[in-house]
């Protein structure tokens, strides 16, 4: 069975200057995070590369683990294969990945209203994770006693 999982956190940016909170729970059978890539997926259209469209920060293990800070750019043309930035973060089972994405685009047309040029877009954070040996992901479930009783009746 493959042990590497490419976990995707998708973020939708709908407003200029928006702060998008990241509050994501990784599957409980992930043992470590060994790499990441943060990138623009779709929405922005430009003929030239934009070195920075936003900033991203991520913390692991419910804010216990060191985070990474990175900037996200836009590539006008497909070039190299995106490479994963190396990480080596042991993951505690079922803990939160938290952080934020901040849109930092500048209006390229100062005389035009912001709302005219801004286009909603999507950013993805890929986390390369390794499964923990022998552990299976268990979905947490909480069956309300009333619901259980109703089902039994």
């Amino acid at each position: 069975m493959t042990k590497i999982r490419y976990h995707i956190i998708q973020l939708d940016v709908s407003e200029y200057g928006q702060v998008v909170e990241i509050r994501h729970r990784l599957p409980s059978n992930y043992g470590s995070c060994t790499g990441y890539v943060a990138r623009h997926v779709k929405g922005i259209s430009s003929d030239v590369d934009i070195p920075e469209i936003g900033l991203v920060a991520v913390e692991f293990n419910s804010r216990k683990q060191l985070y990474f800070n990175d900037l996200v750019g836009y590539e006008a043309q497909v070039d190299q294969l995106p490479e994963y930035q190396e990480l080596n973060i042991p993951l505690e089972s079922g803990q939160l990945v938290t952080g934020f994405y901040l849109d930092t685009q500048k209006n390229p047309y100062p005389l035009i209203d912001i709302k005219e040029w801004f286009r909603p877009y999507q950013v993805a954070i890929y986390l390369k994770c390794e499964l923990q040996n022998g552990k299976k992901h268990v979905r947490s479930s909480c069956i309300h006693p009333v619901a259980a009783e109703a089902a039994a009746n």
């Binding site: 493959t2 590497i4 995707i8 997926v41 779709k42 497909v78 294969l81 993805a124």
Partner: protein
């Protein structure tokens, strides 16, 4: 024994936004899949395209995995084009299946088109490699 093969899987996309399931088999003369590369006719249908992939029943990519993550431009040297798997992915006639989703390109003239998925099949013993490094092959 042959050591390398680049197997092509074609996926037909007929209309913008199409989400297409595909299934193929790896060549049974090769032991494992070393890497994968995706090629589409235009960057306009690459941005936002996603692919889910399963090989030999093992999850490789989720359905939301961007095709861009396994693709690159024409300027890249052939040896560096493939997304390399760091662990053993079984070939030997295994099933390759998944779902390809078109990003709903704005240029209707591009449709229909074929996505070409290339699998790098090998018979050598797997050794994890870093990007750009070469390692010597074991010959049978």
């Amino acid at each position: 024994m042959k050591n390398h093969k680049f197997q092509q899987i074609r996926i037909r996309i007929n209309a913008p936004g199409d989400s297409v399931r595909f299934a193929a088999e790896t060549d049974k003369l090769y032991a494992k899949v070393r890497g994968v590369f995706a090629s589409v006719p235009s960057d306009q249908v690459l941005v936002g395209a996603t692919i889910g992939l399963k090989i030999n029943g093992q999850d490789v990519f989720d359905d939301a995995h961007e095709v861009r993550m396994i693709s690159c431009g024409n300027q890249v040297a052939p040896n560096n084009k493939f997304f390399r798997f760091e662990e053993h992915i079984e070939a030997g006639g295994s099933t390759v299946e998944g779902r390809y989703t078109d990003p709903r390109g704005t240029n209707p003239a591009l449709y229909p088109y074929d996505v070409k998925l290339y699998l790098w099949l090998v018979n050598e013993t797997h050794q994890p490699e870093k990007h750009g490094e070469k390692h010597s092959e074991k010959h049978p």
